[in-house]
């Protein structure tokens, strides 16, 4: 079962890697490649966040630090030092892991640093990095850095194909890592830390070591994805890179999708990014943040367990909303439909959202709910 799912995941990723070739052959709009890249980016970022914050319960507002470190490491090494871009990606990942380990080494030594204090510490780290980027002329110094197209092997296709494939690779790596962690003894330990850390420690879970490992993996993946994002952004500024978009959106995505399962952040990333992209394209960009904020409020109040948990209880709804989302995405890219297609796809996504959230599961809908223990059985299965 576990190997089957992993194989299916890898097969899907391998198939997706050939989408640019299909695009060359059939000439469907490049829009889909850009759109997919951003999906991959948000999947990677929110999965990275979830490995630390969802699995261990240590809430981080510092995803922007890992992301920004990755972006600037790749950007600086590429443009200022002339290092091969493909070498800068693993360097960025490693630096992200080191930064994360440093934060963890400080934070996890102190038992008092739980809950909101940890969250604010990570936020402070992000602000500090941002201030350093403003200040240091080597990192940026307020001038901004523009990234030229780096040389790369021709079999990777056009520039947008390259970005798409790199994004896909990082997203796949992130999801596979999250999947493997969840289904391992390590993941089981992390869930124990989230549920009752002191008890976990008593029962022999090496909490410090596990937390260090989780934050390092999270930082590594976040920076790796940032290094790829540097190419897509093209022009880096401290305000653009270190703003609160990334740390906030990953939280919204993961909370919406569900924090207790590797699939949760993936669902959240797809739904939220699609929604945001649609709103922007329909000329409703001014209302994008209003919608996002309202979703977050409603989710916290009515479905704090997230969509994944809810959909698992209602599989038919899951299929219906999945189909609606795919139709909406395809419709949104069809050229020539103009405003009509924008409104159509926005409407479909809104409908999907209603379908997904539906009635509060806690109240009234007792008919189809399976007992809690059954629906949670897959959550923390020991291999």
């Amino acid at each position: 079962m576990r190997h089957g799912r992993l194989a299916a995941l890898l097969a899907l990723a391998a198939a997706l890697a050939f989408v640019p070739n299909v695009q060359d052959a059939t000439g469907f709009p490049t829009f889909y490649l850009v759109y997919s890249y951003f999906l991959f980016f948000w999947i990677a970022q929110s999965t990275s966040w979830n490995i630390l914050s969802g699995y261990t319960g240590y809430f981080s507002f510092g995803q922007g630090a890992f992301y920004g470190l990755g972006v600037y490491t790749a950007g600086d090494l590429l443009t200022r030092e002339g290092i091969n871009y493909f070498v800068t990606i693993p360097i960025a990942g490693a630096l992200g892991g080191v930064l994360a380990a440093a934060v963890g080494a400080l934070a996890f030594r102190l038992g008092s640093l739980r809950g909101e204090i940890f969250a604010l510490l990570t936020l402070a780290v992000t602000f500090t990095l941002s201030a350093i980027a403003q200040l240091s002329t080597w990192v940026d110094g307020g001038q901004g850095i523009s990234i030229a197209v780096p040389p790369y092997p021709s079999f990777l296709g056009e520039y947008q194909d390259l970005i798409y494939r790199l994004g896909l690779a990082v997203a796949t790596l992130s999801v596979v890592v999250a999947f493997l962690i969840q289904n391992s003894r390590f993941g089981w330990g992390l869930f124990a830390i989230r549920d009752e850390e002191d008890v976990a420690e008593e029962l022999g879970v090496p909490t410090f070591r596990y937390k260090m490992l989780a934050i390092s993996v999270s930082g590594f993946l976040g920076s790796l994805s940032g290094a790829v994002a540097a190419l897509q952004i093209g022009y880096l500024t401290p305000e653009g890179v270190f703003n609160l978009t990334v740390p906030l959106l990953v939280v919204v995505m993961s909370v919406l999708g569900g924090r207790r399962h590797w699939l949760g952040p993936v669902i959240g990333a797809v739904v939220i990014y699609s929604l945001q992209e649609r709103l922007t394209n329909s000329g409703l960009g001014d209302w994008g943040q209003v919608v996002l904020g309202s979703i977050l409020v409603l989710i916290i109040l009515f479905a704090p367990e997230g969509l994944h948990e809810r959909l698992r209880r209602q599989p038919r709804r899951a299929v219906a909303s999945g189909v609606a989302l795919v139709v909406a995405t395809v419709a949104s890219g069809l050229a020539g439909w103009g405003i009509a297609s924008d409104w159509l796809s926005t409407g479909l996504i809104a409908g999907t959202a209603v379908l997904l959230v539906g009635r509060p599961a806690a109240r009234g809908s007792g008919k189809r709910r399976r007992p809690l223990d059954a629906s949670h059985a897959g959550d923390a299965a020991v291999p």
Partner: protein, 289 residues
């Protein structure tokens, strides 16, 4: 030397403004266990209302206190009612209020645009006035901020220590169940406190409106700074919040003169990291102990 002194004086007064902004946040976080990110949106909203009221009607900007304080009080009560109704815990309150925060900032952006807005000097009787002691200038708007901070911190401290309301509130903060068993109505006290905290945000907003130009992204800049003030001051410690605000203002101004204004955030956030690691209860302890 005079540069340092003048910068220090300005820093202390700006720090007073930070203190006013931090009071409400510190109050709800420390005593109600609600981390209210929307506090910054309430401050910004009140500043915009002050701007709008003064610009449209030409009244003294201070008059808008009469409008925004009750308004924000109502908003605070309403939000806290929802938090109580849905049993939102501390961490979820952070997410919930974050959602409200981004909604509010976007609405402000849609109403007033992303441009800078400032009350015209002609309509702002305080903007250009200053008191001089020797060569050192004390701008009136900043003096008002510092004075407000000191008065509110002192009143708040007294209320928490000496009145029934304050004692009941502290009892709830220590142990809600036991306080309830002794007849303390945590709902009413909680909503009143949330309302008062939001009213403090309104006062801070009026002061901001008088002091400076406003734009939607300003609220994001406050988040890190004011959280630093609240944590350094000790969560729930009102005197501490004002003292920490003054300290941060002073440090920022001195770093700005001695090094570069860009260096101030590095120093402030490094201070925050150190404080979180080694003094998570703040420099002065929590709850005014």
């Amino acid at each position: 030397m005079n540069t340092y002194l003048q910068a220090g004086v300005s820093g202390v007064m700006i720090g007073g403004l930070y203190g006013v902004m931090a009071l409400g946040l510190s109050l709800t976080w420390g005593l109600l266990k609600v981390i209210n990110l929307a506090h910054f949106a309430l401050i910004l909203g009140s500043a915009y209302v002050t701007y709008q009221l003064t610009t449209s009607t030409g009244v003294d900007p201070l008059v808008s206190v009469l409008v925004v304080t009750p308004g924000m009080f109502a908003v605070g009560v309403a939000v806290h009612w929802v938090i109580e109704r849905f049993h939102v815990d501390e961490l979820s309150s952070l997410l919930l209020s974050f959602g409200l925060f981004i909604v509010a900032i976007q609405l402000i952006n849609n109403i007033w645009s992303a441009d800078f807005r400032q009350i015209e000097a002609a309509e702002n009787p305080y903007a250009t006035r200053a008191v001089f002691i020797g060569d050192i200038a004390f701008p009136v708007p900043q003096l008002m901020a510092l004075g407000t901070a000191l008065v509110f911190a002192a009143v708040g401290f007294y209320v928490l220590r000496r009145t029934y309301f304050g004692k009941a509130l502290r009892a709830i903060a220590y142990d809600r169940e036991i306080a309830g068993a002794y007849g303390v109505d945590h709902r009413r006290i909680g909503m009143l406190t949330a309302g008062l905290a939001s009213a403090l945000a309104a006062v801070a907003g009026v002061l901001i409106g008088i002091n400076q130009a406003v734009f939607p992204q300003l609220a994001l800049e406050w988040v890190g700074l004011i959280f630093t003030v609240v944590i350094l001051g000790g969560i729930g410690n009102l005197l501490g919040a004002v003292a920490a605000g003054i300290l941060i203002g002073l440090v920022s101004s001195q770093v700005g003169v001695a090094w570069t204004p860009l260096g101030a955030p590095v120093v402030v956030f490094s201070l925050l990291i150190l404080a979180l690691l080694f003094r998570p209860n703040g420099l002065f302890g929590r709850l005014g102990e």
